[in-house]
């Protein structure tokens, strides 16, 4: 028996082995020459054979999910280490300008093993506790790879090395934007969702307005914030509250507005999902409205609320990149600087952590969601 996804991953990965693993460029802007894994460094061919073996063995249907997962992880470590080894080997000593950047072969191999990992995990169906352990293990592995210094010669890490301070500051800003807007949206959206659940007449108008906000393109919404908040900032006392037309504040407001619809509509649908007899029984037994909400409706709507948190978190971690355009900070700062300078390594310095963060938030929220559903089954 063949594993069909395994065949697809193998084709993807083996194509990656024949394409250049890295680009060697004289400096960070000009195009360079592509170098494959086999030509990259002394042990390259050996690693290439190992990776190919994993990919081909992955085609076999007999492999247990556990073995598949472990092999995929090994493959990922192999691909990422190769990048580091190639960079260390190819970079001329004492040349601060030359860059070794990941190329198409690297991305294809990375994708092949990432898909294989996802496939293995799906088949493994680990318990929630085991999932947490696996996640922690992968994070430790990632931290070890980054901390080992093995990747320090790779272009993105060279960009990072010269921007350590700003990178940490922008990470903080990015997190503050994503989580701050989520916090605001929960603080406003939860009561609003409960309110429109209780008064059916307000439901249509509120959801319509939030729907319209949601359809405004992000760039436009961020743009509108500048004159709008700029005007509000001129009002007496506004500046003391941190209101300004440019910077993180308008970005925070825009992200908050985007987050509002998922929070409000999921609160509403979660509450509406509570079976009518349950509501009736709670009232009939003598719960006050507050007790009905706190003891019955909100706990039963919790999975729906957590789903909203997941949507908002992943959405806003991604959208917060746009904040870079209006001087709001965050990883977007590197992305747009990089685009302006046509320095793709700098773009990656902003894009890669954004992707990693969104992925991590999504996985963590999925696990929490699984726990909340398990708790009330």
């Amino acid at each position: 028996m063949m594993s069909r996804p395994g065949v697809l991953f193998a084709l993807l990965g083996i194509a990656g082995l024949f394409l250049p693993l890295v680009h060697l460029r004289p400096n960070r802007i000009v195009p360079g020459e592509g170098i494959t894994l086999t030509a990259g460094f002394a042990t390259g061919p050996l690693i290439a054979v190992g990776l190919a073996a994993i990919l081909i063995a992955g085609c076999l249907g007999r492999w247990s999910p556990g073995l598949r997962t472990a092999a995929a992880l090994l493959g990922l470590v192999g691909v990422i280490s190769s990048l580091g080894l190639a960079a260390g080997h190819l970079l001329p000593k004492g040349n601060g300008l030359a860059r070794v950047a990941p190329a198409s072969g690297f991305w294809l191999l990375l994708a092949a093993f990432a898909f294989m990992l996802a496939d293995g995990l799906t088949r493994l169906r680990p318990s929630v506790a085991a999932s947490w352990l696996i996640l922690a293990g992968v994070l430790v592995l990632a931290a070890a790879l980054l901390g080992s210094g093995m990747l320090d010669q790779v272009s993105v890490m060279r960009e990072y090395a010269t921007r350590r301070g700003p990178f940490l500051a922008e990470t903080q800003t990015h997190l503050a934007l994503a989580f701050g807007s989520l916090g605001l949206a929960l603080a406003v959206g939860l009561p609003l969702g409960v309110a429109i659940y209780l008064t059916a007449r307000a439901r249509g108008p509120v959801l319509t307005v939030l729907n319209i906000v949601q359809t405004i393109p992000s760039l436009a919404l961020f743009g509108i914030m500048i004159p709008l908040l700029g005007w509000i900032a001129t009002l007496p006392g506004a500046d003391r509250l941190g209101v300004s037309g440019i910077g993180s504040f308008p970005a925070l407001i825009a992200l908050f507005l985007y987050a509002l619809l998922p929070v409000v509509s999921n609160t509403l649908s979660g509450l509406q999902g509570v079976p009518l007899p349950v509501r009736e029984a709670a009232l009939g037994l003598g719960m006050t409205r507050g007790q009905l909400l706190a003891q019955v409706l909100i706990p039963l709507a919790l999975p729906s609320l957590l789903a909203a948190v997941r949507i908002v978190l992943v959405q806003n971690i991604g959208l917060a990149v746009i904040a870079g355009l209006i001087g709001g900070g965050g990883f977007g700062t590197f992305v747009f600087q990089g685009l302006n300078q046509t320095a793709m390594d700098l773009v990656l310095l902003g894009a890669l952590p954004t992707i990693a963060l969104a992925l991590l938030a999504g996985i963590v929220m999925d696990l929490l969601l699984g726990m909340s559903r398990g708790a009330q089954a």
């Binding site: 349950v278 029984a281 003598g286 719960m287 039963l300 009330q376």
Partner: protein, 308 residues
């Protein structure tokens, strides 16, 4: 005593309950029976104020319920509904403990009360205390629902089609359980049902409703033998009334001295059971356990219209 005085509820100009007055005696089961849309559920829900009357009064123990904070009123009245409505995120014990918790009973007392009720409904506390509602069968969930309604020892229990979702066997068992619990606790109960059979089985009194009005309120045998209107007669069903009537009395009260052949019938069996046994075994008389006989002639005499 529960007294309903000229209760009316109007929805969009149409009276759903129309000037209903009713006295519900203490310690009895009153069955409100009628077709769907007859206003019986609305009438029931006006007693615990889930529906506010347009006009009229509900008095419990002489006190108008309108003057009391609604959540405090409801904590003193048990309420069981068709869908049961157990809280899916709470264990069986926590469900039963709902009203005692709202009333702030000490935890030890709540725990003891929960176990007492589980035993009363023949659910082993050690097995069922920590089960979640989705792990219960329909009949078990229904019993937990009644136990929850009785937890804080209410003087009055309202039941709205409580057995509607159960199959025939589960329903018979649940009805017998409810009857037994009512005999044991002496709780006043008002039961809404569309099933005349259930009303006859459980009701000490039956109130027949149609178009928001009470057509007849009386003991079951009077309703069966002397229906007040053609509607009441139709609801009973002419083909069934003799059997309903026989099902109301036990063999015990009909026993006469004598000898009869064949196996004996238990004293607490209903006259309906005795008739069925006579017909099935082709006998004219059955011996009764503990002595005496019941005759087919006596059964025939019992199962007929009241003399004019």
């Amino acid at each position: 005593m529960i007294e309903l005085r000229h209760l009316t509820r109007v929805y969009a100009g149409v009276p759903v309950v129309d000037d209903v007055s009713l006295n519900v005696p203490e310690g009895e089961i009153t069955a409100l029976v009628g077709t769907s849309g007859s206003g019986k559920t609305t009438l029931l829900r006006m007693i615990n104020r889930l529906v506010e009357p347009t006009t009229g009064q509900v008095l419990i123990g002489g006190q108008d319920v309108a003057g009391q904070p609604v959540h405090l009123l409801r904590r003193r009245i048990g309420y069981v509904i068709q869908g049961v409505g157990l809280f899916p995120h709470h264990s069986v014990a926590r469900n039963i403990a709902t009203v005692p918790r709202l009333l702030g009973w000490p935890p030890a007392q709540i725990g003891a009360r929960v176990d007492e009720l589980l035993q009363l409904f023949q659910l082993d506390p050690a097995t069922f205390r920590n089960r979640m509602p989705h792990q219960l069968s329909g009949g078990q969930a229904q019993r937990v629902g009644v136990a929850r309604a009785l937890a804080a020892r209410p003087d009055l229990l309202l039941l709205d089609e409580p057995f509607g979702a159960l199959d025939a066997i589960g329903r018979a068992r649940a009805q017998a359980d409810l009857r037994g619990v009512q005999r044991q606790l002496g709780t006043t109960m008002i039961l809404v049902t569309h099933d005349i059979n259930e009303a006859v089985q459980l009701g000490d009194r039956i109130a027949v409703m149609d178009h928001g009005r009470i057509l007849q309120h009386d003991r079951p045998e009077r309703i069966l033998t002397d229906p007040a209107t053609p509607f009441v007669q139709a609801l009973i069903g002419p083909g069934e009334r003799a059997f309903h009537l026989l099902s109301l009395s036990a063999v015990l009260g009909m026993t006469q001295p004598g000898q009869a052949q064949g196996p004996a019938i238990p004293r607490e069996a209903s006259l309906r059971d005795a008739l069925a046994e006579c017909l099935w075994s082709g006998r004219d008389a059955l011996p009764v356990e503990g002595g005496g006989i019941v005759t087919l002639a006596a059964l025939r005499a019992h199962a007929r219209q009241a003399p004019e």
